[in-house]
Symmetry: C2
Subunit: 407 residues, 2 copies
Amino acid sequence: MPKISNKGIHMPASPIRKLAPFADQAKKEGKKVYHLNIGQPDIETPEGMLNAIKNIDFKVWAYTSSEGTLSYRTKLASYYNKLNYGIKPEEIIVTTGGSEAITIAMMTCLDPGDEVIIPEPFYANYNGFACQNDVVVKPIMSFIENGFALPSIADFEKLITPKTKAIIICNPNNPTGYLYSRKELEDLKLLALKYDLYIFSDEAYREFCYDGESFISPMHLAGLEEHVIVMDTVSKRYSACGARLGCLITKNKKVLSTALKFAQARLSAGLVEQIAGEAAIDTPDEYFEKVNKEYTHRRNILVSALNKMEGVFCPNPGGAFYVVASLPIDNADKFCQWMLEDFSFENQTVMMAPATGFYATKGAGYNQVRMAYVLNADDLQKAMICLENALAIYPGRVINTTAAQEN
Amino acid sequence: MPKISNKGIHMPASPIRKLAPFADQAKKEGKKVYHLNIGQPDIETPEGMLNAIKNIDFKVWAYTSSEGTLSYRTKLASYYNKLNYGIKPEEIIVTTGGSEAITIAMMTCLDPGDEVIIPEPFYANYNGFACQNDVVVKPIMSFIENGFALPSIADFEKLITPKTKAIIICNPNNPTGYLYSRKELEDLKLLALKYDLYIFSDEAYREFCYDGESFISPMHLAGLEEHVIVMDTVSKRYSACGARLGCLITKNKKVLSTALKFAQARLSAGLVEQIAGEAAIDTPDEYFEKVNKEYTHRRNILVSALNKMEGVFCPNPGGAFYVVASLPIDNADKFCQWMLEDFSFENQTVMMAPATGFYATKGAGYNQVRMAYVLNADDLQKAMICLENALAIYPGRVINTTAAQEN
């Protein structure tokens, strides 16, 4: 029997999806499972986007150009330019989801053995994409105590070697919800210029900033034109995760022409998605205002409920729709599995993502979980009651010293 | 300015798409361009598939499971089992086009430096996918003189090293249209078993076999269960290239579980595509009969017209919708560009793919082009008249010795 690859052996399973078989089993047993494990919102996709699908009038479902249709890229540029990105359509390559934007950026800029610095905890699939490309992730720790703010630039500098090629920043952050400040991004800019590093800016959650705070992109910072690659997606913006439509944006011409070769190899992104994506850009502002209000409400419910639980600490995040909380538990992987396998409260339980999968440092985040507030307020409240009851009887309960200090 | 990766530098541009700017320019100048360069058929997508899109009734365009929806995989299994593949739904991973099936198969089975043997000329993007994964392509020459039949097993054996992990076979073949026989596949089977190699079976053109010949898959050969990975797509079968929907099929459990980890990293294939793909499986047989008849007719027109031209030789392919022809020219890249830049006949010209991009051996196929017979018979005939006129006045015309011998 032929062997699988070493990279296949080392490829991590998704921490968001790996407990799915236990959830399936729980459901088979008749339990109601509240899914806080995955960033799949219940928010409705804008009608205009869905209508664009229903109204397709082509007879041949054809390839588009590899960089995406000109009409979609033109419309996308107008969207970005409302945000003051100063982008031309030819500086955009349309991708199959944000995932493909990330892999194309990695392939374009990084060779096997090259290093990329990422503040941890980070979006777990960066590990997977790095593994695919034999790229080395150098994690830099951020801490729950200060809400997972950007680590100090001095700490970044300690990790830089001749192999360091890029920094990945996800803003607002998945999994922590932290919204980076202009000052933090300006600091990163100086670092990128000093060491001639790429900044990969994952902006999947750009629209989700709360409490009146503004989103700042490295695209807003003059002097970084050759260094920034934005990786974007419509998944969260329009609650259209299953559309698999994203893009890569850069003003670096060499990166663009090289990325296009990778885009050509896979032919094109989906035609129907691009038609729908184009329509989505006309989504009225009220849609986003309503969604933003809804997520703010949910975040407040979740953060408040969590911090009322004994031994639990959850910072109040400024964006995205995730929180990372520390719990009074021995092991988040065990706990999340136990919740599905062995626990129920009024025949309900909660699925969460163990935070360990979002850290590259072994052992880090052992008592933390990520929760996505993608359920309605009522379900979220029920999920929190479940969690509180679970923590009360979990056999591996321990006093969480961090939480004890903070609460 | 930070550097791009070495793999980015070495990544080949698509030979199918790299002349696109010249075609755009020709069109701007008012020329009609017959596109024989790309396998984008003009055949209509089945109505049932398009209606499935128009009738979507979800409110949230959500992720599917990473391996694809169970309902689509169940339906797909029924399609494959009509072809006697003996496949269960859980042996299928739904992918974003055939392209992703190929990259996932490579990542699952091959590490940087590992070697894959591919009969050349071959689908040019295999080079791109190999480059992405730092995998080494070992080409094995097939020859226009015998219609690009499978090279001898002795020739394969000469290329095998401890680094050889897989053979890629595309059947019916893109770009040559050659349909491999049961005997050829049985020979490959013995080779794969002797050296414990994977067979990656690219079956994008399975439905396109002419003259009453049957398609044979390595899936039909007992004893290869651990060795075969089928890479499939709906692109050609349903003339739905822009759907970006494919799948990977294997009975090798270790490959399946490893491939799933790569599939999880990119979350899921498109939801709308899977809904449409499911509907497509109910496409009536008459659709395929009609399409098959149409392609046979077109192939006959093209092959006959080509072989009537002085100095041109084109084998009569048994499948797919491509031919590779040798022309009395000095350089196919130059010729194809000249056709777009400097030539027109009655204000028309033809875009073809230089065959050089389908060979890994430098210099091979220098006088060959690939043509896709994806236009209607009338346009094909006009394109052939154009080509004949072009060959008559092309400044780089030379006597093609191969063609001279064969004609």
